[in-house]
Assembly symmetry: C2
Homo-oligomer: 518 residues x 2
Amino acid sequence: MNGAESLVHTLIDSGVEVCFSNPGTSEMHFVAALDKVAGMRCVLGLFEGVVTGAADGYYRMTDKPAATLLHLGPGLGNGLANLHNARKAKSGIVNIVGDHATYHVEYDAPLTADVEGIARPISGWVKTSKSAKEVAQDGAQAVAAANKYPGQIATLILPANTAWEPSVGPATAIATPATPKAPTDRIEAIADILKSDEPAAIVITGFALRAKALETASKIASVTGVHLYGQTSNARLERGRGRVPLKTIPYPVDAAVDVLSPYKHIISLSAKPPVAFFAYPDKPSGLYAPDCSTHVLAHEYEDCAAALEELAECLNANDATPVIQNASVAAIPATDELNPTTIASTVAHLLPENAIVIDESITCAPAFFDQTSTAAPHDWLQICGGSIGAGFPLATGAAVACPDRKVVALQADGSGMYTLQALWTQSRENLDITTILLSNSAYAILKHELKNVGAVSGTQAGTVALDMMELNRPNLDWVALAKGMGVEAGRATTVSTLATEIQKGLQCEGPYLIEAVF
Amino acid sequence: MNGAESLVHTLIDSGVEVCFSNPGTSEMHFVAALDKVAGMRCVLGLFEGVVTGAADGYYRMTDKPAATLLHLGPGLGNGLANLHNARKAKSGIVNIVGDHATYHVEYDAPLTADVEGIARPISGWVKTSKSAKEVAQDGAQAVAAANKYPGQIATLILPANTAWEPSVGPATAIATPATPKAPTDRIEAIADILKSDEPAAIVITGFALRAKALETASKIASVTGVHLYGQTSNARLERGRGRVPLKTIPYPVDAAVDVLSPYKHIISLSAKPPVAFFAYPDKPSGLYAPDCSTHVLAHEYEDCAAALEELAECLNANDATPVIQNASVAAIPATDELNPTTIASTVAHLLPENAIVIDESITCAPAFFDQTSTAAPHDWLQICGGSIGAGFPLATGAAVACPDRKVVALQADGSGMYTLQALWTQSRENLDITTILLSNSAYAILKHELKNVGAVSGTQAGTVALDMMELNRPNLDWVALAKGMGVEAGRATTVSTLATEIQKGLQCEGPYLIEAVF
């Protein structure tokens, strides 16, 4: 058994079931090993950002790491932006990055690069295997590192000869250690704050955004009056009808400062104290009031659901009644004009039970989040690292993870262009994804930000600057782009055609893209 | 004048005329400054790999650095693979990477990343500006670093507040220092080797592949009998009818070893001693014979054209007659079947005078290089770092650099998918590029390599492995993809339609893509 086979065996024994792949020559033995060892599903992406973003989406829906297969330093480089997003989402991923044979590195062949140097900024764990005899053990460690609560990026660099030389066989899977609990005295101190009359908010992210944990949080809120917020962007939020409704902290600084200004205490649960996405001249970086105290209920490396349970017990909140979303979803709008609000309410109305919603809708996001709050129960997945180009790949990975659920992707056009290659994988794997492509032919968010950052006053932006934010010269034809990659597609310019197209998309079992032009 | 304006002034004063851009919020003051300061052409790319690859192509055709404008760590990450290629091509590029305001970094907002860490593996020079008062001086230094012979990647990280706070005005351009010359005693020693009877070869790359330097090399060859080779991949080679014909070292290890086996001396000119692209079990990493001595005529940081001149003088070769390509180009093939050879000879026959050829044709490359050796004089640009996805962007940058020349891009399908977004920029800027898209619906090179590396014996590859190398499920429709980005396109399945389509492409002044299906 060669090193590659010992590694594939070990990954499978350690619970890794899917490998999102974009291999090259130095990964050929690993690829061949996938044929010899049963149990790993291989999903090909035609660009590495597809592969890494899909692994992120897969983790979010399974709480289990997938492997990626990447080709040397530049292949890892192409995957970096979505690994950054995955890192901020606290997703566990095992990157297998092929490299030159150990003895070949000194020759500085064209593809030679500092792979560890490229890996380090986005990895929690990095190792280059030294020999075929160690690669299986390294693989077991990589999976253990990826599984470390709440999930992290583990990058295992695999010199080609460690794959082709003889191994000592598979390594034993490493058990995931118990997740540390938040200390009881800290939880009691938080309980005391919540018992006081001072206004307080809990800011939640991570695993505490699942339905059961949010019910516990809502019970705590109903006995103490504490307000609950999600982070601005979250890896996965269970919401919709029958679930606890949760506001998130607004993206614009002024709105966020306004929302958080009443609170004397902000308590973080797996989250950081709320901060501005960007700095702006004359605006604060921290979004809470200057006299607000910040506290931690559970650090991101501590079991956040358990901390909520213990806090609820401390506050005798277990028998309280949580707030549950019971309102009816809005009707499809009577007007036929497409705009963010009418698109959002149409999607909300038609959203199927138990859908997975991928939100990379950028400037349309507030309308979608608002309109879908009363939609059928669903999961809401956002970009967590701010690097656009996560949407198509996240949808791909989520659909691989949950073949029995509908994935609905809300995809802005500018960000969609970064990783549009994912559509090909969606077609190849016949993934059940309906994409609503929001075609406003602009980097609309930058038009707002140009003024927000004070780069121009009022509407004084010049032609060069505006030209960098317009995608209408030429217009992108998303129906052609989708069809070019084997994905059926249609265009909607009115609410009624949008509704028809969404129904068409949801009825088919494979991918479908709707270009909503507004 | 704010920091961004002082920087833009300085870049222009230092000779930077083009900025390939994919900006975000933290770059808005830089974008606004481009309106206030005249003299910089802005070219928008919808993905950062387009931007960095275009800057590489621009440098190769102008010997001058362009700027790129990238959005924080992940934006730089998306540009990394083509910066790797540019680094191996020794192209000068000034990356301007926006970052969070200096005081905002500690808040660890979603886009916060180790930008310097991401930059270092692909940059020869990296600096984070500390204040708006220093940013102009830093910009002048960045251009000087990019201009350092033979060209290198300089990355200037621009925290947002160094762009919006008051500056001290533009900095003076820094003069490029003289390029060091190869020492005379070394050149004389090389002359002595060439005067001996022992078989020798000179391996050339870099600026010595321009027509004039190659004539000097050919004169040296005609008086000494030394053989001349280009590296396997080169940034820019001037060749075709009326120029010195030059063979390059084959990519396959066995063929390269065979070619180089006769030589007792290999003399490198801006190149490294020839090494295998990848390591293979039981094949050597060095491609020259074990008893061959390797020598350096000029290191890559030394003036290679001057070294050739001095060597020619040493050998009294100045009056010798160089070998010049005078053979006629082959006719368009009589057969109508498309295959690499018939496609290549059709292209060769129709190649216009003074074209810039971008070669990312991968498995078709040997046929193209062979058939075009007698074509009209042209420049030949290849991927130098082995990271596929350079072709479309290189063509884009070369066309921006040379608006009066035809660019002909030979683009494999698998590699084209990495950076297909470049087609939109080609349309937007109406760039004069005819792309021959080689549609064999496979990562064909990997099918060869799977056997080459011994990952499978004979044709024993399994279904999982082969499935990772097939792009035919679904087939890509490149005509649809091109049209989706505003580029006119046609399909050719026979030699005669290919010839008609190429003529159509060459006749129009903007971009045109031909999907050659074989």
